[in-house]
Amino acid sequence: MQNDLLYIGIFMLIALFIPGIAIVIAGVLGPKRPAPIKNAAYECGIETVGETWVQFKAQYYIYALIFLVFDVETIFLYPWAIAYNAVGIWAVLEAVLFIFILAGGLGYAWRKGALEWQ
Protein backbone atom coordinates (compact mmCIF):
# COMPACT_ATOMS: atom_id res chain seq x y z
CA MET A 1 0.00 0.00 0.00
CA GLN A 2 2.76 2.43 0.94
CA ASN A 3 4.64 1.42 -2.18
CA ASP A 4 1.52 2.05 -4.25
CA LEU A 5 1.13 5.52 -2.84
CA LEU A 6 4.83 6.21 -3.37
CA TYR A 7 4.44 5.25 -7.01
CA ILE A 8 1.36 7.48 -7.35
CA GLY A 9 3.25 10.39 -5.81
CA ILE A 10 6.21 9.94 -8.14
CA PHE A 11 3.90 9.52 -11.10
CA MET A 12 1.95 12.69 -10.31
CA LEU A 13 5.16 14.71 -10.04
CA ILE A 14 6.43 13.31 -13.34
CA ALA A 15 3.06 13.86 -15.03
CA LEU A 16 3.35 17.55 -14.14
CA PHE A 17 7.08 17.72 -14.79
CA ILE A 18 7.01 16.50 -18.42
CA PRO A 19 4.52 19.11 -19.74
CA GLY A 20 6.22 21.78 -17.62
CA ILE A 21 9.66 21.08 -19.02
CA ALA A 22 8.25 20.88 -22.56
CA ILE A 23 6.75 24.35 -22.18
CA VAL A 24 10.04 25.70 -20.85
CA ILE A 25 11.92 24.20 -23.82
CA ALA A 26 9.39 25.63 -26.25
CA GLY A 27 9.74 29.01 -24.57
CA VAL A 28 13.50 28.89 -25.14
CA LEU A 29 13.15 27.77 -28.77
CA GLY A 30 10.45 30.21 -29.78
CA PRO A 31 10.94 33.87 -30.68
CA LYS A 32 10.13 36.55 -28.10
CA ARG A 33 8.85 39.73 -29.71
CA PRO A 34 6.05 41.13 -27.56
CA ALA A 35 4.20 44.19 -28.84
CA PRO A 36 1.39 46.18 -27.24
CA ILE A 37 -1.16 45.30 -29.91
CA LYS A 38 -0.11 41.67 -30.00
CA ASN A 39 -0.47 41.41 -26.24
CA ALA A 40 -3.89 43.03 -26.12
CA ALA A 41 -6.80 40.83 -25.13
CA TYR A 42 -8.35 39.15 -28.16
CA GLU A 43 -11.90 40.37 -28.57
CA CYS A 44 -12.43 40.19 -32.33
CA GLY A 45 -10.48 43.38 -33.04
CA ILE A 46 -12.44 45.56 -30.64
CA GLU A 47 -10.67 47.16 -27.71
CA THR A 48 -11.69 45.55 -24.46
CA VAL A 49 -14.02 47.56 -22.24
CA GLY A 50 -13.63 47.69 -18.49
CA GLU A 51 -12.56 45.00 -16.08
CA THR A 52 -12.31 41.39 -17.21
CA TRP A 53 -12.91 39.78 -13.84
CA VAL A 54 -16.50 40.90 -13.61
CA GLN A 55 -19.30 39.58 -11.46
CA PHE A 56 -20.97 36.64 -13.10
CA LYS A 57 -24.27 34.87 -13.00
CA ALA A 58 -25.26 33.51 -9.60
CA GLN A 59 -26.65 30.50 -11.47
CA TYR A 60 -23.18 29.01 -11.71
CA TYR A 61 -22.88 29.11 -7.92
CA ILE A 62 -26.12 27.20 -7.52
CA TYR A 63 -24.94 24.39 -9.77
CA ALA A 64 -21.64 24.31 -7.91
CA LEU A 65 -23.53 24.03 -4.61
CA ILE A 66 -25.73 21.18 -5.79
CA PHE A 67 -22.64 19.47 -7.15
CA LEU A 68 -20.91 19.84 -3.80
CA VAL A 69 -23.80 18.21 -1.95
CA PHE A 70 -23.89 15.28 -4.34
CA ASP A 71 -20.18 14.75 -4.62
CA VAL A 72 -19.57 14.76 -0.89
CA GLU A 73 -22.48 12.45 -0.22
CA THR A 74 -21.67 9.96 -2.96
CA ILE A 75 -18.24 9.57 -1.38
CA PHE A 76 -20.10 8.10 1.62
CA LEU A 77 -21.59 5.48 -0.67
CA TYR A 78 -18.22 4.10 -1.77
CA PRO A 79 -17.39 2.30 1.50
CA TRP A 80 -20.83 0.72 1.32
CA ALA A 81 -20.24 -0.33 -2.29
CA ILE A 82 -17.00 -2.05 -1.32
CA ALA A 83 -18.71 -3.92 1.49
CA TYR A 84 -21.72 -4.71 -0.70
CA ASN A 85 -20.93 -8.41 -1.11
CA ALA A 86 -20.45 -8.86 2.62
CA VAL A 87 -23.52 -7.07 3.99
CA GLY A 88 -27.10 -8.30 4.19
CA ILE A 89 -30.24 -7.02 2.51
CA TRP A 90 -30.96 -4.54 5.33
CA ALA A 91 -27.69 -2.69 4.86
CA VAL A 92 -28.53 -2.44 1.16
CA LEU A 93 -31.97 -1.08 1.95
CA GLU A 94 -30.46 1.49 4.31
CA ALA A 95 -28.07 2.65 1.58
CA VAL A 96 -31.02 2.90 -0.80
CA LEU A 97 -32.79 5.03 1.80
CA PHE A 98 -29.72 7.26 1.87
CA ILE A 99 -29.84 7.52 -1.93
CA PHE A 100 -33.52 8.47 -1.68
CA ILE A 101 -32.65 11.27 0.75
CA LEU A 102 -30.14 12.46 -1.86
CA ALA A 103 -32.83 12.25 -4.50
CA GLY A 104 -35.09 14.24 -2.17
CA GLY A 105 -32.48 16.99 -2.11
CA LEU A 106 -32.37 16.95 -5.88
CA GLY A 107 -36.17 17.10 -6.02
CA TYR A 108 -36.15 20.07 -3.66
CA ALA A 109 -33.63 21.94 -5.81
CA TRP A 110 -35.65 21.05 -8.89
CA ARG A 111 -38.89 22.26 -7.34
CA LYS A 112 -37.26 25.51 -6.24
CA GLY A 113 -36.24 26.12 -9.84
CA ALA A 114 -32.51 25.89 -9.17
CA LEU A 115 -32.12 23.61 -12.17
CA GLU A 116 -33.68 26.02 -14.65
CA TRP A 117 -31.14 27.93 -16.69
CA GLN A 118 -32.22 31.55 -16.72
Binding site: M12, P19, P34, Y84, I89, I99, L106
Partner: protein, 408 residues
Protein backbone atom coordinates in the same frame (compact mmCIF):
# COMPACT_ATOMS: atom_id res chain seq x y z
CA UNK B 1 6.87 -18.18 -14.64
CA UNK B 2 7.58 -15.19 -16.77
CA UNK B 3 9.06 -15.82 -20.12
CA UNK B 4 9.89 -13.28 -22.74
CA UNK B 5 7.35 -14.57 -25.24
CA UNK B 6 4.19 -14.57 -23.13
CA UNK B 7 4.89 -11.47 -21.07
CA UNK B 8 7.67 -9.35 -22.57
CA UNK B 9 7.02 -6.25 -20.49
CA UNK B 10 6.69 -8.07 -17.18
CA UNK B 11 9.89 -9.88 -18.13
CA UNK B 12 11.65 -6.56 -18.74
CA UNK B 13 10.44 -5.19 -15.41
CA UNK B 14 11.74 -8.23 -13.51
CA UNK B 15 15.00 -8.04 -15.42
CA UNK B 16 15.37 -4.38 -14.52
CA UNK B 17 14.81 -5.16 -10.83
CA UNK B 18 17.39 -7.95 -10.94
CA UNK B 19 19.93 -5.63 -12.58
CA UNK B 20 19.37 -3.00 -9.89
CA UNK B 21 19.65 -5.60 -7.13
CA UNK B 22 22.83 -6.90 -8.77
CA UNK B 23 24.49 -3.59 -8.00
CA UNK B 24 24.01 -4.26 -4.28
CA UNK B 25 21.89 -1.16 -3.75
CA UNK B 26 19.67 -0.99 -0.65
CA UNK B 27 16.20 -2.39 -1.34
CA UNK B 28 14.44 0.96 -0.78
CA UNK B 29 16.63 2.64 -3.36
CA UNK B 30 15.99 -0.19 -5.85
CA UNK B 31 12.25 0.29 -5.49
CA UNK B 32 12.57 4.06 -5.79
CA UNK B 33 14.70 3.92 -8.94
CA UNK B 34 12.44 1.32 -10.50
CA UNK B 35 9.39 3.46 -9.72
CA UNK B 36 10.92 6.62 -11.18
CA UNK B 37 11.96 4.82 -14.35
CA UNK B 38 8.62 3.03 -14.65
CA UNK B 39 6.58 6.19 -14.08
CA UNK B 40 8.72 8.14 -16.52
CA UNK B 41 8.33 5.45 -19.19
CA UNK B 42 4.56 5.21 -18.76
CA UNK B 43 4.04 8.99 -18.81
CA UNK B 44 6.28 9.43 -21.85
CA UNK B 45 4.58 6.60 -23.71
CA UNK B 46 1.17 8.15 -23.05
CA UNK B 47 2.38 11.45 -24.49
CA UNK B 48 3.97 9.74 -27.50
CA UNK B 49 0.68 7.97 -28.10
CA UNK B 50 -0.89 11.39 -28.59
CA UNK B 51 1.19 11.90 -31.74
CA UNK B 52 -0.48 8.84 -33.20
CA UNK B 53 -3.91 9.73 -31.83
CA UNK B 54 -3.83 13.13 -33.54
CA UNK B 55 -3.29 11.38 -36.87
CA UNK B 56 -6.04 8.83 -36.17
CA UNK B 57 -8.50 11.50 -35.15
CA UNK B 58 -7.84 13.75 -38.11
CA UNK B 59 -7.92 10.85 -40.54
CA UNK B 60 -11.17 9.36 -39.20
CA UNK B 61 -12.66 12.82 -38.83
CA UNK B 62 -11.81 13.49 -42.44
CA UNK B 63 -13.41 10.25 -43.60
CA UNK B 64 -16.55 10.83 -41.54
CA UNK B 65 -16.97 14.28 -43.04
CA UNK B 66 -16.20 13.07 -46.56
CA UNK B 67 -12.73 14.56 -46.72
CA UNK B 68 -9.35 12.91 -47.16
CA UNK B 69 -7.71 13.95 -43.90
CA UNK B 70 -3.93 14.35 -43.70
CA UNK B 71 -2.39 12.64 -46.73
CA UNK B 72 0.68 14.63 -47.77
CA UNK B 73 3.45 14.21 -45.17
CA UNK B 74 4.65 10.61 -45.16
CA UNK B 75 2.62 7.52 -46.09
CA UNK B 76 -1.09 8.21 -45.43
CA UNK B 77 -0.04 11.46 -43.79
CA UNK B 78 1.41 9.54 -40.84
CA UNK B 79 4.22 12.02 -40.24
CA UNK B 80 1.84 15.00 -40.24
CA UNK B 81 1.53 15.28 -36.42
CA UNK B 82 5.33 15.19 -36.12
CA UNK B 83 5.56 18.14 -38.50
CA UNK B 84 2.85 19.95 -36.55
CA UNK B 85 4.66 19.25 -33.31
CA UNK B 86 7.95 20.64 -34.59
CA UNK B 87 6.16 23.73 -35.78
CA UNK B 88 4.27 24.31 -32.54
CA UNK B 89 7.47 23.87 -30.52
CA UNK B 90 9.06 26.87 -32.21
CA UNK B 91 6.11 29.23 -31.92
CA UNK B 92 6.12 32.35 -29.81
CA UNK B 93 4.35 32.43 -26.45
CA UNK B 94 2.11 35.48 -26.44
CA UNK B 95 1.13 36.39 -22.89
CA UNK B 96 -1.77 38.84 -22.82
CA UNK B 97 -1.41 42.04 -20.83
CA UNK B 98 -2.68 41.80 -17.30
CA UNK B 99 -2.83 38.01 -17.28
CA UNK B 100 -2.64 36.24 -13.96
CA UNK B 101 0.76 34.69 -14.70
CA UNK B 102 0.61 31.78 -12.24
CA UNK B 103 -2.86 30.61 -13.23
CA UNK B 104 -2.17 31.32 -16.91
CA UNK B 105 0.95 29.17 -17.05
CA UNK B 106 -0.29 26.44 -14.74
CA UNK B 107 -3.51 25.88 -16.74
CA UNK B 108 -2.11 23.88 -19.68
CA UNK B 109 0.27 21.93 -17.45
CA UNK B 110 -2.56 20.80 -15.18
CA UNK B 111 -4.82 20.03 -18.14
CA UNK B 112 -2.29 17.55 -19.55
CA UNK B 113 -0.90 16.35 -16.24
CA UNK B 114 -4.33 15.40 -14.90
CA UNK B 115 -4.98 13.12 -17.87
CA UNK B 116 -1.57 11.46 -17.68
CA UNK B 117 -2.09 10.86 -13.96
CA UNK B 118 -5.04 8.58 -14.68
CA UNK B 119 -2.68 6.20 -16.46
CA UNK B 120 -0.89 5.40 -13.20
CA UNK B 121 -3.66 3.04 -12.10
CA UNK B 122 -4.93 1.58 -15.38
CA UNK B 123 -4.24 -2.16 -15.60
CA UNK B 124 -3.04 -2.87 -19.13
CA UNK B 125 -2.47 -6.55 -18.37
CA UNK B 126 -2.26 -8.94 -15.45
CA UNK B 127 1.29 -7.89 -14.64
CA UNK B 128 1.25 -4.68 -16.57
CA UNK B 129 0.13 -1.73 -14.49
CA UNK B 130 1.72 1.27 -12.88
CA UNK B 131 0.27 0.78 -9.46
CA UNK B 132 -2.51 -1.46 -8.16
CA UNK B 133 -3.88 1.26 -5.90
CA UNK B 134 -6.71 -0.08 -3.72
CA UNK B 135 -8.65 3.19 -4.04
CA UNK B 136 -8.13 3.37 -7.81
CA UNK B 137 -11.60 4.69 -8.67
CA UNK B 138 -11.50 7.45 -6.08
CA UNK B 139 -8.07 8.37 -7.40
CA UNK B 140 -9.41 8.64 -10.96
CA UNK B 141 -12.28 10.87 -9.84
CA UNK B 142 -9.96 13.05 -7.77
CA UNK B 143 -7.48 13.45 -10.59
CA UNK B 144 -10.31 14.31 -12.97
CA UNK B 145 -11.02 17.28 -10.70
CA UNK B 146 -7.49 18.55 -11.29
CA UNK B 147 -8.16 18.69 -15.03
CA UNK B 148 -11.24 20.83 -14.37
CA UNK B 149 -9.11 23.08 -12.21
CA UNK B 150 -6.62 23.49 -15.06
CA UNK B 151 -9.34 24.65 -17.43
CA UNK B 152 -10.79 27.05 -14.88
CA UNK B 153 -7.35 28.49 -14.16
CA UNK B 154 -6.71 28.96 -17.88
CA UNK B 155 -9.96 30.81 -18.38
CA UNK B 156 -9.56 32.90 -15.27
CA UNK B 157 -5.91 33.77 -15.81
CA UNK B 158 -6.23 34.89 -19.42
CA UNK B 159 -7.68 38.34 -18.68
CA UNK B 160 -10.18 37.90 -21.48
CA UNK B 161 -13.94 37.89 -21.19
CA UNK B 162 -14.45 35.11 -23.70
CA UNK B 163 -11.97 32.96 -21.86
CA UNK B 164 -13.76 33.73 -18.60
CA UNK B 165 -17.08 32.71 -20.16
CA UNK B 166 -15.48 29.45 -21.24
CA UNK B 167 -14.27 28.90 -17.69
CA UNK B 168 -17.77 29.53 -16.29
CA UNK B 169 -19.19 27.00 -18.69
CA UNK B 170 -16.45 24.61 -17.67
CA UNK B 171 -17.49 24.98 -14.05
CA UNK B 172 -21.12 24.32 -14.89
CA UNK B 173 -20.45 21.41 -17.23
CA UNK B 174 -17.46 19.57 -15.81
CA UNK B 175 -18.73 19.75 -12.25
CA UNK B 176 -22.26 18.74 -13.16
CA UNK B 177 -21.29 15.70 -15.18
CA UNK B 178 -19.05 14.44 -12.43
CA UNK B 179 -22.14 13.55 -10.38
CA UNK B 180 -23.72 10.91 -12.66
CA UNK B 181 -20.24 9.58 -13.43
CA UNK B 182 -19.42 9.08 -9.76
CA UNK B 183 -22.81 7.51 -9.06
CA UNK B 184 -22.66 5.14 -12.03
CA UNK B 185 -19.14 4.11 -11.03
CA UNK B 186 -20.64 2.76 -7.80
CA UNK B 187 -21.99 -0.22 -9.72
CA UNK B 188 -18.67 -1.75 -10.86
CA UNK B 189 -17.31 -1.14 -7.35
CA UNK B 190 -20.36 -2.85 -5.88
CA UNK B 191 -20.05 -5.92 -8.12
CA UNK B 192 -16.32 -6.26 -7.64
CA UNK B 193 -16.26 -5.38 -3.94
CA UNK B 194 -13.14 -3.29 -4.47
CA UNK B 195 -12.07 0.07 -5.83
CA UNK B 196 -8.82 -1.34 -7.21
CA UNK B 197 -9.02 -1.42 -11.00
CA UNK B 198 -7.19 -4.74 -11.21
CA UNK B 199 -9.72 -6.37 -8.86
CA UNK B 200 -12.56 -4.89 -10.90
CA UNK B 201 -11.12 -6.42 -14.07
CA UNK B 202 -10.59 -9.75 -12.33
CA UNK B 203 -14.20 -9.78 -11.10
CA UNK B 204 -15.54 -9.47 -14.65
CA UNK B 205 -16.05 -13.09 -15.61
CA UNK B 206 -19.09 -11.59 -17.27
CA UNK B 207 -18.32 -8.03 -18.44
CA UNK B 208 -20.17 -5.51 -16.31
CA UNK B 209 -21.77 -3.95 -19.38
CA UNK B 210 -24.00 -7.05 -19.52
CA UNK B 211 -24.94 -6.67 -15.87
CA UNK B 212 -25.40 -2.90 -15.92
CA UNK B 213 -25.89 -1.51 -19.45
CA UNK B 214 -27.57 1.68 -18.25
CA UNK B 215 -24.78 2.49 -15.82
CA UNK B 216 -22.30 1.90 -18.64
CA UNK B 217 -24.23 4.26 -20.89
CA UNK B 218 -24.37 6.95 -18.19
CA UNK B 219 -20.66 6.58 -17.58
CA UNK B 220 -19.92 6.85 -21.30
CA UNK B 221 -22.04 9.97 -21.81
CA UNK B 222 -20.76 11.74 -18.73
CA UNK B 223 -17.14 10.93 -19.50
CA UNK B 224 -17.57 12.41 -22.99
CA UNK B 225 -18.92 15.51 -21.25
CA UNK B 226 -15.99 15.50 -18.84
CA UNK B 227 -13.73 15.38 -21.85
CA UNK B 228 -15.45 18.49 -23.22
CA UNK B 229 -15.92 17.15 -26.74
CA UNK B 230 -18.79 17.47 -29.15
CA UNK B 231 -21.69 17.33 -28.43
CA UNK B 232 -20.55 18.76 -25.08
CA UNK B 233 -17.91 21.21 -26.36
CA UNK B 234 -19.56 24.32 -24.96
CA UNK B 235 -16.46 25.35 -23.08
CA UNK B 236 -14.56 25.79 -26.31
CA UNK B 237 -17.39 26.76 -28.62
CA UNK B 238 -15.72 28.55 -31.52
CA UNK B 239 -18.85 30.08 -32.93
CA UNK B 240 -20.19 31.43 -29.63
CA UNK B 241 -17.26 32.50 -27.45
CA UNK B 242 -14.47 32.52 -30.09
CA UNK B 243 -12.63 29.61 -28.53
CA UNK B 244 -13.47 29.66 -24.88
CA UNK B 245 -10.87 29.17 -22.22
CA UNK B 246 -7.93 28.76 -24.63
CA UNK B 247 -8.42 31.90 -26.73
CA UNK B 248 -5.41 33.75 -25.30
CA UNK B 249 -2.99 30.84 -25.56
CA UNK B 250 -0.42 30.35 -28.28
CA UNK B 251 2.33 27.94 -29.17
CA UNK B 252 2.82 24.84 -27.09
CA UNK B 253 0.66 26.13 -24.24
CA UNK B 254 -2.27 26.15 -26.64
CA UNK B 255 -1.18 22.79 -28.01
CA UNK B 256 -1.14 21.19 -24.60
CA UNK B 257 -4.86 21.75 -24.12
CA UNK B 258 -5.37 19.67 -27.22
CA UNK B 259 -2.80 17.10 -26.19
CA UNK B 260 -4.83 16.74 -23.01
CA UNK B 261 -8.04 16.58 -25.00
CA UNK B 262 -6.82 13.87 -27.40
CA UNK B 263 -5.27 11.84 -24.61
CA UNK B 264 -8.41 12.17 -22.50
CA UNK B 265 -10.55 10.84 -25.34
CA UNK B 266 -8.37 7.74 -25.48
CA UNK B 267 -8.23 7.47 -21.70
CA UNK B 268 -11.99 7.42 -21.27
CA UNK B 269 -12.18 4.63 -23.86
CA UNK B 270 -9.51 2.82 -21.85
CA UNK B 271 -11.40 3.31 -18.59
CA UNK B 272 -14.66 2.20 -20.16
CA UNK B 273 -13.00 -0.99 -21.41
CA UNK B 274 -11.45 -1.63 -18.01
CA UNK B 275 -14.58 -0.94 -15.98
CA UNK B 276 -17.34 -2.30 -18.18
CA UNK B 277 -15.93 -4.37 -21.02
CA UNK B 278 -13.77 -6.71 -18.98
CA UNK B 279 -10.37 -5.05 -19.42
CA UNK B 280 -7.69 -7.58 -20.25
CA UNK B 281 -10.04 -10.53 -19.74
CA UNK B 282 -10.30 -12.87 -22.66
CA UNK B 283 -9.49 -16.43 -23.70
CA UNK B 284 -5.92 -17.27 -22.79
CA UNK B 285 -5.17 -13.97 -21.09
CA UNK B 286 -4.34 -15.62 -17.78
CA UNK B 287 -1.42 -17.62 -19.12
CA UNK B 288 -0.27 -15.05 -21.69
CA UNK B 289 -0.42 -11.51 -20.25
CA UNK B 290 0.53 -10.02 -23.61
CA UNK B 291 -2.74 -11.39 -25.04
CA UNK B 292 -4.62 -9.52 -22.33
CA UNK B 293 -2.93 -6.33 -23.46
CA UNK B 294 -4.02 -7.02 -27.04
CA UNK B 295 -7.63 -7.65 -25.91
CA UNK B 296 -7.66 -4.43 -23.94
CA UNK B 297 -6.33 -2.47 -26.90
CA UNK B 298 -8.96 -3.96 -29.23
CA UNK B 299 -11.77 -3.03 -26.82
CA UNK B 300 -10.29 0.42 -26.27
CA UNK B 301 -9.93 1.09 -29.98
CA UNK B 302 -13.57 0.17 -30.54
CA UNK B 303 -14.74 2.54 -27.80
CA UNK B 304 -12.38 5.25 -29.03
CA UNK B 305 -13.76 4.87 -32.54
CA UNK B 306 -17.30 5.14 -31.20
CA UNK B 307 -16.33 8.31 -29.35
CA UNK B 308 -14.87 9.75 -32.55
CA UNK B 309 -18.02 8.95 -34.51
CA UNK B 310 -20.09 10.74 -31.87
CA UNK B 311 -17.73 13.69 -31.91
CA UNK B 312 -17.83 14.14 -35.65
CA UNK B 313 -21.54 13.51 -36.05
CA UNK B 314 -23.50 15.33 -33.37
CA UNK B 315 -24.03 19.09 -33.16
CA UNK B 316 -23.38 21.07 -29.98
CA UNK B 317 -25.91 21.29 -27.12
CA UNK B 318 -27.21 24.58 -25.84
CA UNK B 319 -26.11 25.29 -22.28
CA UNK B 320 -29.60 24.86 -20.79
CA UNK B 321 -30.05 21.60 -22.69
CA UNK B 322 -26.68 20.39 -21.48
CA UNK B 323 -27.50 21.15 -17.85
CA UNK B 324 -31.02 19.78 -18.09
CA UNK B 325 -29.74 16.55 -19.63
CA UNK B 326 -27.46 16.13 -16.66
CA UNK B 327 -29.55 17.23 -13.69
CA UNK B 328 -32.99 16.21 -14.89
CA UNK B 329 -32.13 13.00 -16.68
CA UNK B 330 -28.75 11.47 -15.94
CA UNK B 331 -28.59 12.17 -12.19
CA UNK B 332 -32.07 10.80 -11.32
CA UNK B 333 -31.54 7.92 -13.73
CA UNK B 334 -28.22 7.00 -12.16
CA UNK B 335 -29.66 7.18 -8.64
CA UNK B 336 -32.56 4.92 -9.61
CA UNK B 337 -30.29 2.50 -11.44
CA UNK B 338 -27.89 2.19 -8.52
CA UNK B 339 -30.63 1.57 -5.96
CA UNK B 340 -32.56 -0.94 -8.06
CA UNK B 341 -29.40 -2.78 -9.08
CA UNK B 342 -28.26 -2.98 -5.46
CA UNK B 343 -31.56 -4.38 -4.21
CA UNK B 344 -32.13 -6.83 -7.04
CA UNK B 345 -28.58 -8.10 -7.15
CA UNK B 346 -28.77 -8.77 -3.43
CA UNK B 347 -32.02 -10.69 -3.83
CA UNK B 348 -30.86 -12.66 -6.85
CA UNK B 349 -29.15 -15.90 -6.03
CA UNK B 350 -25.42 -16.03 -6.41
CA UNK B 351 -25.78 -17.98 -9.61
CA UNK B 352 -24.18 -15.88 -12.34
CA UNK B 353 -26.80 -16.68 -14.99
CA UNK B 354 -29.68 -15.79 -12.71
CA UNK B 355 -27.94 -12.50 -11.97
CA UNK B 356 -27.38 -11.75 -15.65
CA UNK B 357 -31.00 -12.41 -16.59
CA UNK B 358 -32.49 -10.59 -13.61
CA UNK B 359 -30.24 -7.55 -13.93
CA UNK B 360 -30.81 -7.31 -17.67
CA UNK B 361 -34.53 -7.42 -16.96
CA UNK B 362 -34.21 -4.64 -14.37
CA UNK B 363 -32.27 -2.49 -16.83
CA UNK B 364 -34.87 -3.13 -19.50
CA UNK B 365 -37.66 -2.10 -17.11
CA UNK B 366 -35.78 1.08 -16.15
CA UNK B 367 -35.24 1.89 -19.81
CA UNK B 368 -38.86 1.33 -20.81
CA UNK B 369 -40.22 3.36 -17.92
CA UNK B 370 -37.76 6.12 -18.75
CA UNK B 371 -39.09 6.18 -22.29
CA UNK B 372 -42.66 6.29 -21.02
CA UNK B 373 -41.89 9.16 -18.64
CA UNK B 374 -40.05 11.10 -21.30
CA UNK B 375 -42.94 10.67 -23.71
CA UNK B 376 -45.43 11.95 -21.12
CA UNK B 377 -43.21 14.92 -20.33
CA UNK B 378 -43.01 15.80 -23.99
CA UNK B 379 -46.74 15.40 -24.47
CA UNK B 380 -47.51 17.64 -21.50
CA UNK B 381 -45.36 20.44 -22.85
CA UNK B 382 -47.03 23.35 -24.60
CA UNK B 383 -46.75 22.92 -28.35
CA UNK B 384 -43.86 24.68 -29.96
CA UNK B 385 -44.54 27.97 -31.55
CA UNK B 386 -44.50 27.42 -35.27
CA UNK B 387 -43.32 30.03 -37.69
CA UNK B 388 -44.94 30.21 -41.08
CA UNK B 389 -42.13 30.89 -43.41
CA UNK B 390 -43.15 32.05 -46.87
CA UNK B 391 -42.89 29.08 -49.17
CA UNK B 392 -40.62 29.41 -52.11
CA UNK B 393 -42.25 26.76 -54.21
CA UNK B 394 -45.87 25.52 -53.97
CA UNK B 395 -46.24 21.83 -53.23
CA UNK B 396 -47.13 19.49 -56.03
CA UNK B 397 -50.80 18.90 -55.24
CA UNK B 398 -51.49 22.49 -54.31
CA UNK B 399 -53.28 24.62 -56.85
CA UNK B 400 -51.07 27.42 -57.96
CA UNK B 401 -52.81 30.64 -57.08
CA UNK B 402 -52.24 33.24 -59.70
CA UNK B 403 -52.00 36.75 -58.40
CA UNK B 404 -55.05 38.59 -59.52
CA UNK B 405 -54.27 40.83 -62.35
CA UNK B 406 -56.01 44.13 -62.04
CA UNK B 407 -58.49 44.71 -64.75
CA UNK B 408 -57.22 46.87 -67.45
Amino acid sequence: MNSFLTDPIGFLILWFYSVLRGWNLPEDLVVLIAFVVGAFTLATLSLLLVVFLIWVERKIGGRVQDRLGPNRVGPFGLIQPVADMLKIFTKEFITPDGADKVAYNLGPILAVGAVIMIWAVVPFGITLYGSNLNVGILYIIAVGGIGTLGIIMAGWGSNNKFALLGAFRAVAQLLSYEVPMVVSLLIPVMFAGSMGLNEIVRAQTVPFIVLAPIAALIFFISSIAENGRAPFDLLEAESEIVAGFNVEYSGLKFGFFFVGDFLHAFTIALLFSVLFLGGWNGPGADSMPILGFVYLMIKTSLMYFLGLLIRFTLPRFRIDQMLALNWKLLVPLSLVTVSLTAIVDKLAMNNIWVRVIVLLLVNLIIWLSLQEIMERVYRSRPPRRTVNYPRLKPEADEPVVQPETPAA
